[in-house]
């Protein structure tokens, strides 16, 4: 089963990478107010139970993939998105 985790800097957290990307885009002439840069983790999991997979990925996020103090995360399971 394939899954994707999107990890973002939380709202209000200083994101210098996003700021640098935003100002580069503005320099190129794009009308960009703000850019935020996060991280994508693509996973390939064993098993086929979406509920179990989601529960497992939640644990992965809390333990390693995201730091809850500074980052938020979103999980999507291929073919099982509500």
């Amino acid at each position: 089963m394939k899954a994707t985790v999107l990890v973002r800097p939380k709202q209000g957290i200083l994101d210098p990478q996003g700021d640098a990307v935003g100002s580069s885009l503005r320099q190129l002439g794009f009308a960009v107010d703000e850019a935020r840069v996060g991280r994508v983790v693509d996973l390939e999991l064993e098993g086929s139970d979406p509920a179990a997979a989601r529960e497992q990925i939640e644990r992965m996020c809390r333990h390693l993939l995201a730091n809850p103090l500074i980052e938020s995360y979103e999980i999507s399971l291929e073919g099982h998105d509500e």
């Binding site: 957290i13 200083l14 210098p16 993939l65 730091n67 103090l69």
Partner: protein, 232 residues
């Protein structure tokens, strides 16, 4: 003459200040030894621990995020929870935050540039082992060299840290990385674990330009000596 206390310097793949830390600790009267990240146990008679600077596991994911799961970290955690003195320098600070042994997190510098220079620091409290050799309000000059040194705590955590006096060092004058409240070092609630972004191990010999780091590291060595007596 009391025996030199054994201080373990934990070596992760990508640590690069481990040898400097060990050299400095030896010069300040400790018996430094190395512990490898894959070890399950600390060296015999470990009475103090340094988590050194560097780029453990390439800083992949987030600085310190992967190192916190190294096998040795269970022993470090147990040692810290038993009251043993633990000092995390730079990457070591990041690892201690990720491991939950210290509050807060370290984010990329506000400027996105790697900063490498001596910075002035202000000592906020001296009733801790790590700063017992300093005076309250003393100005120290110790080098920093990091890309991810922007200390972050949300408003609630920051208020808690200030109320508990867990901020030990602040940048004095210009803030080099965007850290909240100019924080350069924090301690845990019990005062036996401290993390700091500046590198005291690079400032122990006046011949090399600065020796204020010796005050901090000597504090750790003193605490290790005391811990060895308690443990004996």
């Amino acid at each position: 003459m009391t025996q030199a206390p054994r201080v373990a310097v934990i070596v992760f793949p990508g640590s690069n200040d481990d040898r400097d830390a060990a050299w400095a600790l030896g010069a300040l009267g400790a018996d430094p030894t190395f512990a490898w990240h894959a070890d399950q146990e600390l060296p015999r008679d470990t009475a103090g621990i340094v988590l050194p600077g560097g780029f453990s596991y390439g800083d992949y994911l987030r600085s310190g995020a992967i190192a916190r799961f190294a096998p040795i970290m269970e022993a470090v955690d147990a040692f810290a929870r038993d009251g043993g003195p633990v000092l995390g320098i730079c990457n070591g600070f990041q690892i201690l935050c990720e491991a939950g042994l210290l509050p807060g997190a370290l984010r990329p510098n506000r400027t996105l540039t790697f900063v490498c220079r001596d910075v002035p620091l202000r000592v906020e409290r001296t009733d801790l082992a790590f700063t017992a050799r300093c005076d309250e309000g003393q100005r120290l000059s110790i080098p920093i060299k990091h890309g991810d040194g922007c200390y972050f705590a949300d408003a609630e955590l920051l208020a808690h840290l200030e109320a508990n006096r867990q901020v030990v060092l602040r940048y004095d004058g210009e803030n080099p990385n965007g850290a909240v409240a100019d924080i350069a070092a924090v301690t845990n609630e019990w005062g036996n674990v401290m993390g700091l972004m500046p590198h005291p191990e690079h400032a122990v010999d006046p011949l090399l330009g600065a020796s204020d780091g010796a005050l901090i590291l000597s504090g750790l060595v003193d605490a290790a000596r005391e811990h060895a007596l308690v443990a004996a």
